[in-house]
Point group: C2
DNA sequence: CCGAGGCAGTAGACACTGTCTACTGCCTCG
DNA sequence: CGAGGCAGTAGACAGTGTCTACTGCCTCGG
C-alpha cells in the first residue's frame, strides 16, 4: 500500500522495537485493559509475526516492562512541564504538577496501574532511576524554593541535573509525592464514588496536601 | 446461604466456593505473583477439577475478584483493630491504623496490588461498599474525635455502625486515607530505595501525615 | 568477487490457559 | 419411587507464551 522506498520498506530494520513498544502503549490506551497486552496482540498491532518480539525482548514481561517504562516517561514529562515552567511561584507549580500527576492517573488508568506494578518495577532497575531521579530532583528543588523564607522565587529553581549534592532532607519531597500518589490512585479508581460524595475534587485535595507540607516545613 | 447440613466430609458440598477463594489467597501469599492466580492453578490447589469453579463463579475474573474481596476484608480487619482499640488517644489510634495499612501493603504486596486493581473494583460494586464503608465510618469517627478541641477521648468513639447520618465533611478522612495509601503503595513497592535513603521509615511518614491533618483541621 | 557469518523476521510445534459442552452421581421433593 | 436440579468431572476448542528450525538480507575478510 505504500510505494516502495528503495532503502526501507515498511518493515524497516531495527525500529521494530520502537513499534512494538508504541503498539503496546496504543493498545493500553484504547481501553482494552491489561488483558490486551498479550505478546501476540502487540505483535499483530505492530504488524510483525508473533516470534518477532523475541529478537528484541527476551520474554513477554520484558516487553510489557518496556511499555511501562515508556508510560513512566510520559508521566514524568507531563508532570515536569508544570513543575518547571518559569515565572510562577513554586507553590503554584507544585500543585499544578500534582494535578497533572492525578490527571494522568485518571486519563490513562491502565497505564498508570501498569507503571507501578511492583513485579515490573523489580526488573526495571537502572532505567527506572534514570527516568525518575531527574523528576524527583526537580520536585525537590521546587519544593525547597517554596520552603524558602521569602516564599518567592529568590532562589532560582535550577534543575541542577541529577546531582544530589545537596543531600538535603528528602522528607518533604517524599511527603508530597506519597500524598499526590495516594490521591491519584484512589481518585483514578473512582473510590471516592463509594462515599457518595462526588464533589471531592482532586485539585483541592492536591492543593491542600501541598500547602500542608509547605506550611509545616517552611516556618 | 449456607443452609445445607453442616457436617461435611473434606470433599463436602458447597464449601468449595470458600476453598477456592482460600486457595487463591494462599497462592497469592506464597509469592508466586499475580501469574499464579490462574483458574486451573486455583482449582488444583483447592483439589477440584478445572471445571468446578464455573459452578460458583461465572468467569475467571469473578473468582479473582472474590479473592481480592477476601483480601480487602483482611486489610479492613487488620486496620480496624488498632483503630478501634479503646483507651488510647484518637491520634495514636490513627497512626497505628495507618501503620497497619502500610504494613499490610508491604507484607502482602501481591494481594494489596490486586485489591486496588481498578478493573476488579469495577465489578465489585456493593460488596466493596459493604466492606469499606464501616471501616471508613470508624476512621471518620476516630478522626473527628481527634479533632475535638479537648484532644482527649471525651467524645467516646463509637463505631455507630454504617449510618452516615452525621453527613459531616469527608475531607479530613479522605486526606488521611489518600496520604496513608500513597505511603503504602510507594513503600510497598520499595520505591524509596531509589532515593538511596533507606532510612525513610513508614511509621514516621504516617505519623507526620496524620498529625498534619489533625493539626490543620483541629484548630 | 564471493562465500561465511550473523541477525531480523517467519512459521510451526508444544504445553498450557480459560471457556464451553456433554455427562455422571447425588440429593431433595412431590 | 421417579423427576429434576445441581455440584463436579472430563474432554474439546481456540488462544497464549515460549522454543526451535528455517528463510532472506546485510556486512565483511580473503
Amino acid at each position: 500500500m505504500v510505494d516502495t522506498v528503495t532503502m526501507n520498506p515498511p518493515s524497516g530494520s531495527a525500529d521494530t522495537r520502537e513499534r512494538l513498544i508504541r503498539a503496546g502503549v496504543e493498545l493500553l490506551g484504547e481501553g482494552g485493559g491489561l488483558e490486551s497486552l498479550g505478546l501476540r496482540s502487540i505483535a499483530r498491532r505492530a504488524g510483525v509475526s508473533h516470534g518477532a518480539p523475541r529478537r528484541h525482548f527476551p520474554t513477554h514481561r520484558a516487553l510489557v516492562a518496556a511499555v511501562a517504562a515508556a508510560g513512566l516517561a510520559d508521566l514524568a514529562e507531563e508532570v515536569r512541564g508544570p513543575l518547571t515552567v518559569p515565572g510562577r511561584p513554586p507553590a503554584d507549580r507544585l500543585t499544578a504538577a500534582g494535578v497533572a500527576y492525578v490527571t494522568f492517573a485518571a486519563r490513562r488508568r491502565d497505564m498508570f496501574e501498569l507503571i507501578f506494578r511492583h513485579d515490573l518495577l523489580r526488573g526495571a532497575g537502572a532505567d527506572l532511576r534514570a527516568t525518575t531521579l531527574p523528576l524527583l530532583s526537580d520536585l525537590h528543588a521546587t519544593l525547597t524554593a517554596a520552603l524558602a523564607p521569602t516564599g518567592g522565587d529568590a532562589a532560582e529553581t535550577e534543575p541542577s541535573s541529577t546531582g544530589t549534592s545537596g543531600r538535603a532532607a528528602w522528607g518533604p519531597t517524599i511527603r508530597v509525592w506519597t500524598a499526590v500518589h495516594g490521591i491519584a490512585v484512589l481518585y483514578g479508581n473512582q473510590v471516592f464514588d463509594l462515599l457518595g460524595d462526588a464533589a471531592t475534587e482532586p485539585g483541592s485535595l492536591v492543593a491542600a496536601a501541598v500547602d500542608s507540607v509547605v506550611a509545616e516545613h517552611g516556618r
